[in-house]
Amino acid sequence: MANKILAVLEQREGSLKRSAFEVVNKAANLAKELNTIAEAVVVGDAINNLNEISKYGIQKVTHLKNSELANYSSSGYTEAISNLAKESDFDILILSNTALGKDLAPHLSIKLDAACVVDCIKISVSGNEIICTRPTYAGKALVDLKLLSNKKVITIRPNVFKAQVTENSNPPEIVVKDITSANLRSKVTEFKKSEGKLDVSEADIIVSGGRGMKGPENFHLIEELAETLGAAVGASRAVVDAGWRPHSEQVGQTGKTVSPTLYIACGISGAIQHLAGMSSSKFIVAINKDKDAPIFNVADYGITGDLFEILPVLTSEIKKVK
């Protein structure tokens, strides 16, 4: 069968990530459109929630098992997955555009002699052809790409393709294949977690601060609001460059491109490179003294006022309704 699809699933600490179900669902839907089949693969040691994938439309998963591959290894994962893809004639591989997916996809594409397209926000089928839409220039422009190779490795942007539950509730067929000698030329030996903080790239809600915060000592106002909302803290380039906040929080063209459900911009004027990184958020709230700030051009709701007065009230009002 041509165009067989393989959904490459990501696990951390023995659990499939939320983004893995988005990949399952997208692969299953694409298989329907192309009149082909989709299966899944996961690499790791014991995995506790593999049964859940059938709810999202895939009925068979191959678990490439090795305790030394519990953590990511670019060489080990590349070898194990590309071997499976070759043996079982998979033509299209789909991954999530996470840190792992972004790293792994290009390695796989060379091994499989495939075209590699990352960070897709739309995949359309016309006849037997696949057209991928992806942002460039940090979202300032979108391009439609035609993939010219029979084999394709595609990553999809997290949070864009929502995982829809299908009617099927039978557990999937799980084929366990032991990987006897893993290729560990490159391997992750340790994970250093940032202290209890939610990452902007994975958050549903982001509260971001800019130069209007006037100094790092005032960011507790942002942190308190974020904590109340269960949100991640973000920052503009100006405050990261000034050393007020770590670069892992930076949103924008030289930081992270995000599309949360709610983005609250506090004291951020909205430089074009910042807007590029966040204007695809579903709802945007802007709080800024300057009523002419460009951030108000993309905001759904705005308050033109003093954030030092507004933020504490916002935090306490949200506490009331939560």
Partner: protein, 249 residues
């Protein structure tokens, strides 16, 4: 040791993107081009590594048209020893870039390669891994901390919610993320010295494209929303809208 830095010549991040007449690429009119910001971290890391080793040579490799020499000169002014321009007038897909770079890295015999984690134009973030796989080199992407000890490589890469410590060995390609270092400014002396350094020009290795841009569009712009008020008295209404209208809290 010979160290190669790959640098890309890209539109400034302050650029307002307009679609060109071909409907597939940006209109370059009025656009300022700069060295890709992430490649500055790569240049800095290469120079730091050479300084630490006390010897060696750093070569910057850029793929592009004659205009890209500006980016090579910028790297030379920062302290890189020499440059190579792989000439191609037309934009390439990532694999096309990787093939050209891989060929040059092989010709240079370099075992340690630095480049930015992505270019800020196409945002693919895959050229490092593609190049490494073509050369059968190791690769660590999105690196924020690096320790080299002989053949051994210990790198920290940024992932969701923290950092992964990756252990690997030379030959290796490191793709650099903001936070790895603080790129140095080119001194006046450096800028003067750069004028005497050589830039070798050669044709980029040929390739067959694996993808083709069929169109470029601007995202449908968001309409400005409502200004609810100008002080804290507007907050209850904002909270009501977020809860009842947007249904996001």
């Amino acid at each position: 040791m010979k160290i190669v830095v790959c640098a890309s010549h890209v539109p400034d991040t302050a650029t307002r993107v307009k679609v060109g007449n071909d409907g597939k690429t940006i209109d370059p009119a009025g656009v300022t081009f700069i060295i890709n910001p992430y490649d500055e971290y790569a240049v800095e890391e290469a120079l730091k590594t050479k300084e630490k080793l006390g010897s060696g040579e750093v070569v910057v490799v850029t793929l592009g048209s004659d205009n890209s020499k500006e980016t090579i000169r910028k790297a030379l002014a920062m302290g890189v020893d020499s440059g190579v321009l792989l000439k191609d007038e037309n934009p390439r897909d990532s694999l096309g870039v990787a093939k050209a770079l891989a060929e040059e890295i092989k010709a240079q015999g370099a075992q340690l390669i630095f480049m930015g984690k992505q270019s800020v134009d196409y945002d693919n973030s895959i050229v490092g891994q593609l190049t490494a796989e073509l050369l059968d080199y190791n690769c660590v992407s999105v690196v924020v901390k690096l320790d080299l000890d002989g053949e051994k490589v210990l790198a920290e890469r940024e992932i969701e919610g923290g950092r992964e410590v990756v252990q690997t060995s030379l030959p290796v390609i490191i793709t650099c993320q903001k936070g790895l270092n603080e790129p140095r400014y080119a001194s006046l002396k450096g800028i003067m010295a750069a004028k005497k350094k050589t830039i070798e020009e050669k044709a980029a290795a040929s390739y067959t494209p694996t993808s083709e841009v069929i169109s470029m569009q601007l995202p449908s712009g968001k309409q400005p929303g409502r200004i609810i008020g100008s002080d804290a008295s507007a907050v209850p209404e904002l909270v009501r809208l977020l809860k009842e209208e947007a249904k996001v809290i």
